[in-house]
């Protein structure tokens, strides 16, 4: 196994580390029962779709309001896809409160009334709000309680994973995003190269030489900086030093046109 594959594996193990049992195990069959709806009718919990998204919430909870608002945003991305959204509330919840919350948050889904919290209990849930995703095979595919950050992004990724639109690794990158940094020696080197290029165009050769060399101390493997070093030296008539710089650039990047042209010009100048 190569190092990259090992790192991906370690990353996935970290990402998918289970929380202390707060729900039925992934893969648990979920029965599609008929339940009463908020409007007074009846509806099946599950539809014949790739992803049944069950949103358990309660009306007296700020987190539920936050979650529904976020989910209302998410829903738009799944229009026309094989996804069915269903809201599930305890039958003991304030029904006017549920209606108000649905209206205020613009979350669009049939609302099922869970008599005696039977469905909630059968899934081993112990909190609100929580999104449970059940696949076409009617097995529990994902479980996601509310989170403060990037909730819509995470839920979307969970659904897309069930729809097989994204891979395990892509889901992992959403659940555990890479560190958002920039800079470092490589970037500083690129800045110096860019700075040197402007100085070179302005025919400030000594300054350009100084800048590009500063860049190369930060990143000696930056091929365009070696090529630029050669170009500056060539402009100063110093092909003796320019040729090794062009050669180094080509060693690092065989496609460097600047280095190739520079070498040709030094050859012609002999």
């Amino acid at each position: 196994m190569n190092i990259a594959a090992l790192l991906v594996l370690v990353g996935l193990v970290t990402v998918f580390q289970p929380a202390s049992a707060a729900h039925a195990a992934i893969g648990t069959p979920v029965a599609s029962t008929e339940m009463p709806t908020l409007e007074g009718g009846k509806a099946q919990v599950m539809g014949n779709v790739e992803a049944n998204v069950l949103v358990f919430f309660r009306p007296d909870q700020p987190r539920s309001a936050g979650a529904l608002r976020e989910l209302a945003r998410c829903q738009k991305d799944f229009a026309g896809k094989s996804v069915r959204w269903v809201a599930v509330v305890p039958s003991s919840a304030s029904l006017p409160g549920v209606m108000t919350l649905m209206r205020d948050t613009s979350f669009a889904a049939p609302v099922l009334l869970d008599n005696g919290d039977a469905l909630y209990g059968s899934l081993g849930l112990d909190l609100h709000p929580v999104v449970v995703i059940v696949g076409r095979d009617q097995k529990l595919a994902a479980f996601e309680p509310f989170r403060v950050l990037d909730y819509c992004t995470v839920i979307s990724a969970r659904i897309r994973h069930v729809l097989r639109e994204i891979s395990d690794a892509e889901l992992g990158a959403v659940l555990d995003p890479p560190k958002a940094t920039q800079g470092g020696n490589e970037q500083v080197a690129r800045r110096y190269r860019a700075f040197a290029e402007v100085q070179f165009k302005n025919k400030d050769y000594d300054k350009a030489l100084d800048s590009v060399r500063k860049g190369l101390t930060k990143d000696p493997l930056l091929a365009p900086a070696h090529a630029l070093l050669g170009q500056i030296l060539l402009a100063q008539g110093n092909c003796a030093d320019a040729v090794p710089a062009f050669n180094q650039a080509l060693l690092l990047d065989g496609a460097s046109t600047a280095a190739r042209e520079g070498l040709e010009r030094c050859k012609s100048a002999r």
Binding site: P177, A180, Q182
Partner: protein, 372 residues
Amino acid sequence: MTSTRGAFAVLFSFALAVSTGLFAQATQPKSSAASAEVLAEKAAAAPARRAPAPRSLVPLTAKPAPASSHAPFEAGDCNICHQNADPKQPGPVLKKGPALCLDCHEEFNGVMKRAHTHAPARTDCISCHNPHNSAFSKLLHLEPRALCVSCHEKIGKLHDSAKVPHKALTTGKQCSNCHNPHGSTVEKLLIQLPFDLCVNCHSVDTMADANGKKLQNIKAWLLDNPKQHGPVASKDCNDCHEPHGGDLFRLINQDYPPEFYAPYDAKNYGLCFGCHREKAFSTAQTATLTSFRNGATNLHYLHLQQSGRGRTCRACHEVHAAKQDHLIRDGVPYGSGGWILKLNYKKTTTGGSCEKTCHAEKSYANRTAPQQ
């Protein structure tokens, strides 16, 4: 170089960068959370954020020595950014907005493609940076915290008035300890998910709160306790903690009794009931609300609803992580001598048991054992 700086100083003595204020509207995604309600009221009077104030771009003179200086300015290469090379008459800049900066600082082209970007970084780098030199690092107009709270007033007031301020805001890189002011893949411009940021500091045995009480070495604790609380597993520390500062112990963002024993009163447990259902603890008989029941007898109710002897959640549960399912702790601290009364919890196929602890062995059952 002194003469160059002097010329710039004269030339720019009236020059102010006037920020448009447009970006005050098109900023970060809206808050989606219900956290920090306790603190929100305190800072409610303050606007969430203001448009960046116009700042002088006048270069500093040689004394006191600037803490940071832009390489082209330092080299006297005015025409890298301006139309002319003459420091006395550099003329207008070659490009407007960030495009000029991105010619050299090309990595920010990638940064600006991240899911969340800071509006001033998208529209005008000089909102935060002086392109010539500065008395602060990174060419910033002010030190990081002062610069951030000059727009994000609410956060500044929240931190300043908090009974429990978070030191992360005033040490090291201050706001930049946790936030990337340019762009990030994580909401709120966090450099990483909250947990990864928190353990950068909370992974030592020597950290203590303002009263000298030792703070948990979270990293070590999690290594030793594999069953994690949901928010910990989601790396979402700010589900329960207010990262900027607060009035409650341990920076928790909702009520929770600091004492170990406390009479049951639902309003004291806002932290837990923000997610978990209070009904699961106040309903004597249930077959669905909790798996900690003997038949339909709710054992949470039994433990908590005792007049004068109520226990807090952490009498039996760890907060961050535990070795056992349901975050059940190994033992209960008993008395002042540091003795741990072992719970000896055992999970069984039909329920579970605790033995010879607070009482004689007790077991419970609420499901049929799986067929072999």
